[in-house]
Subunit: 456 residues, 2 copies
């Protein structure tokens, strides 16, 4: 009993040919969903074709970004075939679902105790990675490279340069199966802390622009609330997850219920994070981190193991043990395995859409490109410096480069500045190019570094 979405085109043709033309005049809106099916086909095909970069040791995500960028810029060659994808709200929604699922998967594959071990290092990396680019942008690079702008404009430039977008790096680490490495944990931890810092910074900067001063009370309130709600949510969530999983498995154990439980917790945390003011992906990551194998034990289907046990009843004990260990290993990994197809369906759409948003025509303005290029080097140096203080026993370059992409987080800052009337069109263009450069350069550099010095 859904509102009808189909049949319109052809019925329209039929009715038109019968001299009837008004009924379906407004049916265009109903065609968006089936049209989106075609865009899904193109996005998945492009993402998979982009996978050729893996043959050069590059992470698959780079191929997806490139494929999206090519689709999005064919319009410059008079081939505007894929312009409809850019404005398709359902694709944007799928992209959001995709990155939430991705960070949830990353959280599930990370271990909360292992994360805690690197907590202090992550805090250090995040702090330097926010403070240094901010200062460089605000006081040095801004006034030098873009003279004549207001103090507030430099303020927003600094804030934008301090951002970190964890989606790209998380995906690179996932592509290379090194999510459990120390480097990966430090970067992921720092990115979460960075998001809280970014929220605080945005509030401060906006306050300065608005009132000329900051209310210490408000800032402290923001910080306290963020930390309280994130930590409280995690603790409370952990307390709720156990009885919830027990209750849901009592309704009906099995993989369907297990998946539903995981999705419910993941999306609930994404929503809570949004309520706090944090990015939904930070919530999804936290949910994945919080959920432990203990939460899924009720759902395990014994028939799977039983089947294999049965198969080897009559054989020698050694074989029996090996077969069982294989099947148990499969079972143990279950929830990550179950989520994998959903991630494989939706995550590429996020990176294709990210690529689509890249507009090569901004590179036509030499002064924009030059300014952005120098600014990007500064933006990269700021984050690489944060990697240098990541402590011993880790590849500092990988950590530093892992923090480099500004992605959508940087864009949020720039957009707020734009909305406040502080960031003008020229500065906005420069910032967009910086975001593009830092986002696109990270996957190949990380790919190169990881190929040269494999970590695990």
């Amino acid at each position: 009993m859904q509102i009808p979405n189909f049949r319109n085109v052809f019925t329209f043709i039929i009715l038109s040919s019968l001299g009837f033309q008004t009924v379906f005049a407004s049916s265009g809106a109903h065609d968006i969903i089936p049209q989106t099916f075609l865009w899904i086909v193109i996005a998945l095909l492009a993402a998979r074709m982009g996978g050729f970069v893996e043959k050069f040791g590059q992470p698959a995500v780079l191929g997806e970004l490139l494929a999206g960028a090519i689709l999005g810029n064919l319009v410059l060659l008079q081939m505007p075939w894929f312009e409809g994808m850019k404005s398709n709200e359902y694709l944007h929604f799928m992209a959001e679902l995709g990155v939430v699922i991705l960070l949830f998967q990353v959280g599930l594959e990370s271990n909360v105790n292992e994360m805690k071990k690197v907590g202090l290092r992550a805090l250090l990396v995040a702090s330097i990675g926010v403070i240094l680019p901010f200062i460089m942008g605000r006081y040095i690079a801004g006034p030098l490279l873009m003279p004549g702008l207001s103090e507030n404009a430099y303020l927003f430039l600094g804030a934008t340069l301090s951002a970190t977008s964890v989606g790209i790096t998380a995906r690179v680490f996932k592509d290379f199966s090194i999510l459990s490495s120390k480097e990966s944990r430090i970067v992921l931890g720092a990115a979460v802390i960075d998001d809280v810092m970014g929220l605080v910074l945005l509030a401060i900067v906006s306050a300065i622009v608005q009132t000329g001063s900051i209310s210490v009370f408000s800032v402290l309130q923001t910080i306290t609330l963020s930390i309280l709600l994130l930590a409280g949510g995690t603790i409370l969530g952990g307390m709720i997850a156990k009885p919830l999983s027990k209750w849901m498995s009592s309704l009906n154990p099995g993989s369907g219920m297990k998946l539903a439980f995981a999705l419910i917790v993941g999306f609930l945390f994404a929503y809570i994070a949004h309520l706090i003011g944090l990015a939904p992906i930070v919530g999804a990551f936290t949910a994945g981190l919080m959920l432990d194998s203990i939460h899924f034990v009720h759902f395990d289907e014994p028939h799977y193991i039983a089947e294999f046990k049965d198969a080897v009843t009559s054989s020698d004990p050694e074989t029996q043990e090996r077969v069982i260990s294989i099947s148990e290993k499969q079972n143990e990994k279950h929830i990550e395995h179950i989520l994998e197809p959903i991630g494989q369906f939706l995550s590429p759409i996020f990176f294709i859409m990210t690529g689509l948003a890249v507009d090569f025509s901004v590179f036509m303005n030499p002064s924009t490109v030059l300014t952005a290029f120098v600014l990007s080097i500064i933006a990269i140096i700021g984050k690489l410096a944060s990697g240098m203080i990541a402590g011993k026993g880790v590849n500092k370059w990988i950590i530093g480069w892992g923090m480099v992409p500004r992605g959508e987080v940087g864009l949020i800052f720039a957009s707020v500045g734009r909305a406040l009337g502080v960031v003008d069109a020229a500065e906005f263009s420069v910032i967009v190019v910086v975001i593009m450069l830092t986002t696109f350069i990270t996957p190949p550099v990380l790919g190169y570094l990881l190929k040269k010095n494999p970590i695990s």
Copy 2:
């Protein structure tokens, strides 16, 4: 580099508290995506709670419909908490994705040669199931139960009663794992034919209403085009699928590419069906039917089987054979297995949204309910009669009841009639109640019939 969707609520609070209120005034739209995350949580939770009906031998889909109907009508008890779900376009989109994936899965689990064997029976069932309810609605039940309406109004009533919505029945058959039964194949085949017939009927009825007569040429054109494009698409698709799968697996074999290939073919067919004027789910079903294990052979990961082979090298041949047969069976089913989590994520949302659309308040009008009740009995009898001529060796009741739900297909007919000014508000209400009754009664009746006379 996505357009920002997050951070708005809290940032708004902060900025508001700082005396700044205009920047985020238009941010409401950006909050819809994170808000949707909460609706997803509620939909999945409700769907799973509805699963309690399985304890009474009922198909899970009934529980999902009921859960949706309860959520949707809490507003009548002054609890309008879930009203936002009804108008959430992203949920409607997920529902559409869900039912497309469901019918694609059903197609994959069906065998095209087995379908062909029941082709003639399906054609018979579809024909009687369209003609009988149409005649009864147009010439008997309409004039008797709702006297004083125009001839055209009865025409649309007849057309609505002739519809079949295959989603509900397909899901019931899937819940009971009887998709390969003869009964299931006849119903699925008849539903596809029914969709083509419905398209033709809608064109004819609309033409009569518009011009007072029908153009035989146009009708023949519609029929020919539908059949040609559906059959041609299938044959052409089958021809493309083989090299496409070979090419895609050469890019990178493995489960990710296998899934991408399946989704690409499935959504492409859903889109083509829509272009023809058919329901996307008919295209998705056809795609699933067309795809055979042969198309996936290139993607199979030999390491899985190798691992098990290795595990039993030293054991006796009999055990070895059994273990390998189990692992190969697992491997063979692979694509259905890979799609399962995507279906488990999205399909319940379709049925929850279907339930949500039910408005109990229409039952407050006794004359509407009485008319609709009698009309529903006639609607059911019409489809049961079509089951009676399904031939020997099948449970005719199951086939007949399988054709009963009118679902969204009936609603499309009624909506077109409404848009043409032929169906008035009272008649529309009656039709909506008939659609509700025929949709909701089918799962429990099929559950009862299948419990009494299990088929396989």
